[in-house]
Amino acid sequence: MIKLKVNGEERSVDVTPDTPLLWVLRESLALTGTKFGCGMALCGACTVHLDGEAVRSCVTPMSRAAGKEVTTIEGLSSDVGRVLQQAWIAEDVPQCGYCQSGQIMSAAVLLREKANPSDTDINDAMAGNICRCGTYQRIRRAIHLAAQLKAQGGAK
């Protein structure tokens, strides 16, 4: 059994240590908001927070996640998470929506590190997340808006 903390809850799962965190989240813990896109850390759809850092869960073996704190889109309850979700709605960002959990998880780390990110900061932080529907322009606007909302004291 491998133990870890997911969205604040202690969980233990019976999988081999090489199993990627992604499949534990999706299949063992029924947290399907984290998506499978490439399996090679190329698209960012599986982005979660591991001890606060954005990681690609598709290439994060359970041996690395063991004992750590994992936050998924379902557990993104911080102020940052709420303002991002609010900004995503305000900018009407998603189309198919499949990549958006990963986009938001990457953006959350960016906003925690940079209160008022520049376009270059956004390019650097978000270049690992593919959106096949092409919502990048709206993601950029939504991140700027979320930064503003956060500065104004968080989501209403």
Binding site: G33, K35, G39, M40, T72, M126, R132, C133, T135, Y136
Partner: protein, 724 residues
């Protein structure tokens, strides 16, 4: 003429103790069946038709028969219904339709999503459904109050009697309305009274798409479900000769390893076990006829085919004769590769086959086709199959598959192991799994007269057919020509008196499919870059040259003028930037693009800005049109810059996003969309934003470098050559 029936009334008679009620109203075409299982009303709902269900809690559920792939029907359809119904937008719920002839596509006769047709084909039907329901609710309220229906009106989820200021919410009228006969010709609203239609409206599905709740096909879990991956032939058309599963069976979590039609299925407790076991399989393949398929030799074959006459798609005047006498004559060849759809959600399907039933959960664009295919595989009747339409993590045509292979695989495996099974395609399976936009080779000649006016145009298209050998062949083939191969090339808007277009069918072997904007993906590139070439040869501005030739096509002309004005055509640009323009009609909409690009000294291309103008007729959700044009620009640009599937030794060379790249955040240009106000026929918006992105970019590259781009994707070597 369509007919409107009250399903709750039918249910009322069936369950004579009906109390409470709900209104399901269905607008059926007369030749369709009267079944609508999903719309079968519960006791607390008014079900006036197949599209609407009203609950005693005031909820208005809109049943949507087109798949949500990001293009927005789960918002635009409710907007149409809510407007006529005068519903309270906050009470709207959305539910995917079950598979039933009631939900067949108005044009195609099966339940499906494609061809950028969703909104405009359902517009009238949904308006009537909403209006009929409104009228029934008004009648129910009028009866309650013993007043004339004409003295009542519907507003924001309530029926109001103005004189007495009495009001009842829709939910309070469920029982009474359920007993009424739906009006056959409900009064539709005047356009000027629309509250939702034509107004930018935020998507209803965004909250669930930002909190992890949205359920895509890949997210489905059913009790007792196993997960499967399939080892498929590395060469298209190959078959398993023999296999050894001893090592694979030893992988923990593996339950079954079985041979199916398309390969070896590994069924396990979870994905990781299944994938690891698949890697341990030893399979000898009979690679079949395409074991030597190679992109280079295939290119030579296409070039050879382009020298032989094909099936005639268009003949007006005498192109060949006129070309012989033209003052100036130009020739060019164009090459465009196979392209993968690369939906973010890889292909997948869940199937649960039982002795006398089968359930399928799948993100699909082809409900009827997939349901029937599942029935055949399961050995059941179609009505024994229940197909649940899930959200699609991108479609772009990939989930509209004539042979339903991804559904049939899941059914075959579930049937064999007698358990519910989810088949997951890895990204590599998806990328290498075929069903590509066909490779295309175009050979084009055109002549200008002494005044620089084009007088003759002769085009030969070489590509595989999308429909030969499929059930769609009889609908799409026209006099020996696959219309999807020449669409966008055979009907030019430009006033060119002598036109000849023919098509050479390239040999089959690689599975090909419609890919967002289909034939227009290659025909628009060829037509619009060549028009640019002719403009320069004629010594004219590319915008003016086109405009002068659009005398018979005012809608084309207007979008071209709009995009030029909005993009500042002719105005100075920052140093090192060039502009290109392109125009194209597809899916009954008219789109023009201007691209602004720069090319560095090292030959690095940067697309800075894309301005789009669209005339798609009257709009339903302008917010969706903007989103689709933005997305279309990215889709078109990704193909122009990167998209290429190639073959070596019969195998697809590209595997994942490292060698089949997607446009990313830091490469995103500013995209501006301008909707031309129009009262013309409504057209599509999902695909028309794609075709003229690549030619606008290529024309901009010419403007800044003097180099013509005649093959896609745009290669660094072509740009470097341009710097010399």
């Amino acid at each position: 003429m369509s007919e409107i029936i009250n399903l709750s009334r039918r249910a009322f008679f069936k369950t004579s103790g009906f109390a409470g009620g709900a209104l399901v109203l269905g607008v059926y075409l007369p030749e369709l069946s009267r079944r609508a299982d999903a719309a079968e009303p519960a006791a607390s709902t008014f079900v006036p038709n197949a599209w609407i269900r009203i609950g005693t809690d005031d909820s208005v559920t809109v049943i949507v028969n087109h798949s949500e792939m990001g293009q927005g029907p789960y918002t635009s359809f409710p907007m149409i219904v809510a407007d006529e119904l005068e519903a309270d937008w906050s009470k709207i719920r959305v539910e995917p339709a079950p598979v039933d002839p009631a939900y067949n596509h108005m044009l195609f006769g099966i339940q499906m999503t494609g061809g950028s047709t969703s909104t405009w084909t359902e517009y009238e039907r949904l308006r009537k459904a909403g209006a009929a329901t409104r009228q029934m609710l008004i009648s129910a309220a009028a009866e309650t109050w013993s007043v004339e229906p004409a003295s009542c009106r519907a507003e924001n989820g309530q029926i109001i009697h103005a004189d007495s200021q009495r009001r009842l919410s829709f939910g309070k009228l469920v029982e009474k309305a359920s007993r009424l006969t739906p009006p056959q010709n409900p009064m539709l609203k005047d356009r000027k009274d629309f509250k939702f239609i034509g107004k930018p409206t935020k998507r209803l599905d965004t909250p669930d798409k930002t909190n992890g709740k949205a359920m895509f096909g890949l997210d489905v879990t059913v009790p007792g479900m196993l997960v499967a991956v399939v080892a498929r032939s590395p060469v298209f058309g190959g078959k398993v000769k023999s296999f050894n599963a001893d090592r694979a069976k030893a992988v923990p979590g593996v339950r079954h390893i079985i041979q199916i039609e398309r390969g070896i299925a590994v069924v396990a407790d979870g994905f990781w076990s299944a994938k690891r076991a698949r890697e341990a399989l030893q399979i000898v393949w009979d690679e079949g006829a395409f074991a030597k398929l190679d992109s280079r030799t295939q290119g030579e074959q296409y070039a050879k085919l382009a020298r032989q006459p094909g099936a005639v798609a268009k003949k007006e005047g005498d192109a060949t004769g006129t070309l012989g006498n033209a003052a100036k004559k130009f020739e060019a060849v164009y090459e465009m590769p196979y392209l993968a759809h690369a939906t973010m959600e890889p292909m997948n399907c869940v199937a649960d086959v039982r002795a006398d039933s089968c359930e399928v959960w799948v993100g699909t664009q082809f409900q009827t086709v997939d349901r029937d295919a599942a029935a055949k595989e399961a050995g059941l009747k179609p009505e024994q199959v229940k197909l649940h339409t899930m959200l699609c993590g991108g479609g772009f045509g990939r989930r509209a598959v004539p042979d339903s292979h991804f559904v049939r695989e899941a059914v075959q495996i579930s049937k064999a192991v007698q358990k519910p099974v989810k088949v997951i395609w890895t990204r590599e399976d998806d990328m290498q799994g075929g069903w590509y936009r066909p490779r295309a080779y175009h050979s084009l000649s055109a002549g200008l007269d002494a005044d620089g006016k084009p007088v003759a145009w002769q085009l030969r298209v070489v590509c595989q057919s999308l429909v030969v050998g499929t059930p769609f062949e009889k609908h799409i083939m026209k006099e020996g020509v696959d219309d999807t191969a020449v669409e966008g090339a055979k009907d030019l808007p430009y006033d060119i008196p002598n036109l000849f277009v023919d098509w050479q069918q390239a040999p089959t072997g690689v599975p090909v499919l419609w890919w967002r904007s289909v034939g227009h993906t290659h025909t628009a590139f060829v037509v619009e870059t060549f028009m640019d070439e002719l403009a320069h040869a004629a010594g004219k501005d590319p915008f003016e040259f086109r405009r002068e030739l659009l005398g018979k096509h005012p809608r084309h002309k207007r979008v071209l003028e709009t995009v030029a004005e909005k993009a500042g055509w002719g105005k100075p640009l920052p140093d090192g930037r060039g502009r290109g323009i392109a125009l194209h009609e597809s899916f009954e909409s008219f789109v023009a693009h201007v691209a602004e690009v720069s090319v560095s000294k090292e030959g690095a291309l940067r697309v800075h800005r894309i301005v789009a103008a669209i005339d798609c007729g009257p709009t339903v959700n302008p917010a969706t049109i903007h989103a689709q044009l933005e997305g279309g620009a990215v889709f078109g640009l990704t193909a122009a810059l990167y998209g290429e599937i190639t073959f070596e030794n019969g195998r697809v060379k590209q595997r994942n996003f490292h060698d089949y790249p997607m446009l990313r955040m830091h490469e995103m240009p500013v995209v501006e969309t301008h909707i031309v106000a129009s009262e013309e026929k409504m057209g599509g918006v999902g695909e028309p934003g794609v075709p003229c992105v690549a030619p606008a970019v290529a024309n901009a590259i010419f403007a800044i470098t003097g180099q013509r781009i005649r093959r896609l994707p745009i290669r660094a070597e072509d740009l470097r050559r341009a710097r010399v």
